[in-house]
């Protein structure tokens, strides 16, 4: 088990290094940031001074060597935009996204398991049809569209929720709801599908032959065995959320890492781009290892 974690971690570190290198060179392809940081009417001297000040006048491989050297001292560079340490900026934004993503994925997984199992228990029933269709419909709409309509209806029209921002629990409702739509829709399908095949499996016959109560057959036997694929998909979706709650963060003014990343990308704030990617990639790799461990916990047959 420990050797497995060690192996996975070393793979992950390799991947993170590869990712950072790739991002470093690719972002430099997107042009000179000085034009964005100086007013349009800045002089040529001002531009070259800016480049010199921020080390942008060096050849890119040299800049990369500098970057690596600083990395060894745990120096992730300064944000051009924000006048402070890039990693600090990223680490400040990340928990906000993590909170949102965790709540959204936990809630949608829990709800999807409930709805999906009930749907699978009586396939073809009215509940099954409505649950499948509604969850899929939710997952099929562009999220920013849902978000804006949600604000117009619930905040402006009905005035029951705040439009956006952070603070009270009421501020969480709409962002979480929008974030949940797609994971919930997909997970209901996954739960329903795996539950259907689990309910058709031999050990369910054994349970029925033993006279186990129906509820326990569904939630005790079938569901417990269906969790593995659900965890896989939920893990993938969580990865997506950690990396991509951009739309929700943008619309609701949630100061998360997705928004930070897109702003830094558009503003060519390279050090912050690198740091956000370092943070999210590390989180994603940790998440993946955690999911593997969860597998072993859920299925006693899996041993690493």
């Amino acid at each position: 088990m420990f050797s497995y974690i060690g192996r996975r971690a070393s793979h992950s570190i390799l991947s993170v290094i590869g990712l950072l290198t790739l991002v470093f060179f690719l972002t430099r392809l997107t042009g000179d940031p000085s034009a964005l940081y100086l007013p349009l009417d800045a002089t040529a001297e001002a531009r070259s001074a800016f480049a010199r000040l921020n080390g942008l006048d060096q050849p890119i491989p040299w800049q990369f060597a500098e970057y690596l050297k600083d990395l060894l001292h745990l120096d992730f560079g300064q944000s051009l935009r924000q006048n402070r340490s890039a990693i600090e900026v990223a680490l400040q934004a990340f928990p906000e996204t993590l909170k949102l993503a965790l709540v959204a994925i936990t809630l949608s997984t829990a709800l999807a398991i409930l709805v999906g199992s009930l749907a699978a228990a009586r396939p073809g029933s009215l509940f099954d049809r409505i649950a499948s269709l509604a969850s899929l419909a939710g997952a099929s709409a562009p999220d920013f569209w849902v978000a804006i309509v949600g604000i117009l209806v619930f905040a402006v029209g009905l005035e029951v929720l705040p439009t956006s921002g952070t603070g009270t629990w009421a501020h969480w409702i709409m962002p979480i709801f929008v974030l949940m739509l797609r994971p919930f829709g997909l997970l209901v399908q996954v739960v329903r599908g795996t539950m259907l095949s689990a309910l058709a499996s031999p050990y369910i016959k054994t349970a029925r032959a033993k006279g186990v109560r129906r509820q326990k057959i569904i939630f005790g036997h079938a569901l417990r065995n269906s969790l593995l694929p659900v965890v896989t998909v939920a893990g993938d979706l969580a990865t997506g959320l950690v990396n991509g709650a951009v739309v929700v963060e943008t619309i609701f003014g949630w100061p998360g890492i997705g928004k930070l990343m897109i702003d830094s990308i558009i503003q060519r704030d390279f050090a912050v781009v690198q740091s956000t990617i370092l943070v999210t990639a590390t989180a994603i790799f940790i998440l993946n290892i955690a999911i593997d461990l969860l597998y072993a916990f859920l299925d006693p047959r899996i041993r690493y």
Partner: protein, 307 residues
């Protein structure tokens, strides 16, 4: 089966397409989805010819024309957009680019991801590990950053958008294909082929790939929906398709500012996206049921014996 003497007739297979059609008819929702998608493909193919240049005809004096106005031509039935262009015509023309982009992206990511997955699953050489690490990297590479890099270095165009979407979706196919191969390569018929002297290329192409394909196609159907949605999210962030080209996603993104004053601009393309992705999901659910021998009976006309 009773004892089968060597000359007993093996069961004859019924016409596959006829059976599928019968299954489709049994699931009314799937049937509706299939009809909708068929119409959509038809519209995408013939639409531009039907509506002519109406999709780009300016009408600055009928900006944000409300839908169902009786005193305008039929093409304004769904209203007009911010430049007074008929939304109906733009939906039809947009169908082509929307579906085209999604299809191209899904197809190329399936092809590339699937191939890499086959190689990574079958071989245990160094390049298999490289492919896996590459997949890790791509998976944690933010698609937005990729979009911007491509947009900047290669310029805004439909092809480049396809590249971005294809790369970001690729790891799914890679991982699925690899997982399937890991299982398939232990199967007896692969051993049998190897024992007959078949080389790796033949085993991968002739024996493994045809069995991996159905799984990949099922994923592709759902992914198609995902790609349409990601494309619209990119448009929302200004990193998607750039005017004068447009997709439904871009139409929703451009119309979002008018949701409180002219809801129809973002509503119709949003509805089109939703119905399309919904139909794809419903159809792929149906396909899963068809493929599962334990569930297939649900789609069959169960004829009871006379009693």
């Amino acid at each position: 089966m009773t004892i089968i003497s060597p000359d007993a007739e093996p069961a004859a297979a019924p016409g596959t397409s006829r059976v599928l059609l019968a299954y489709l008819r049994r699931d009314r929702l799937a049937l509706a989805a299939a009809i909708f998608l068929a119409l959509l493909v038809l519209a995408a193919l013939l639409g531009p010819w039907l509506v002519g240049d109406a999709a780009s005809r300016l009408g600055l004096r009928q900006r944000n024309l409300a839908p169902f106005s009786p005193d305008h031509a039929w093409i304004y039935f769904l209203g007009a957009d911010t430049l007074g262009r008929p939304i109906l015509a733009r939906l039809v023309v947009g169908a082509q680019s929307t579906l085209g982009i999604a299809a191209a992206a899904v197809f190329s990511s399936m092809l590339i991801g699937g191939t890499l997955g086959l190689v990574a699953g079958y071989s245990e050489r160094w390049y298999s590990h490289l492919i896996l690490r590459l997949a890790d990297v791509v998976m944690s590479f933010p698609s937005l950053l990729l979009a911007l890099i491509v947009l900047y270095t290669l310029g805004p165009s439909i092809t480049n958008l396809v590249i971005v979407l294809a790369i970001t979706r690729m790891p799914i196919y890679l991982r699925t294909a690899r997982a399937e191969v890991l299982e398939l390569r232990e199967r007896m018929f692969v051993s049998a082929a190897r024992s007959m002297g078949a080389g790796p290329a033949r085993i991968i192409l002739r024996h493994i790939a045809p069995l991996v394909l159905p799984t990949l196609v099922t994923i592709a159907a759902i992914d198609f929906a995902t790609v349409i949605l990601s494309e619209s999210a990119l448009s929302f962030l200004g990193l998607g398709i750039q005017p004068p080209d447009f997709t439904w996603g871009a139409m929703v993104a451009n119309g979002r500012g008018y949701l409180s004053t002219a809801w129809w601009i973002a509503f119709w393309p949003g509805l089109a996206i939703m119905l399309t992705t919904l139909s794809l999901n419903i159809l792929s659910n149906w396909a899963r049921t068809v493929a599962d021998p334990q569930q297939r009976w649900r789609l069959q006309t169960l004829r009871k014996a006379a009693r």
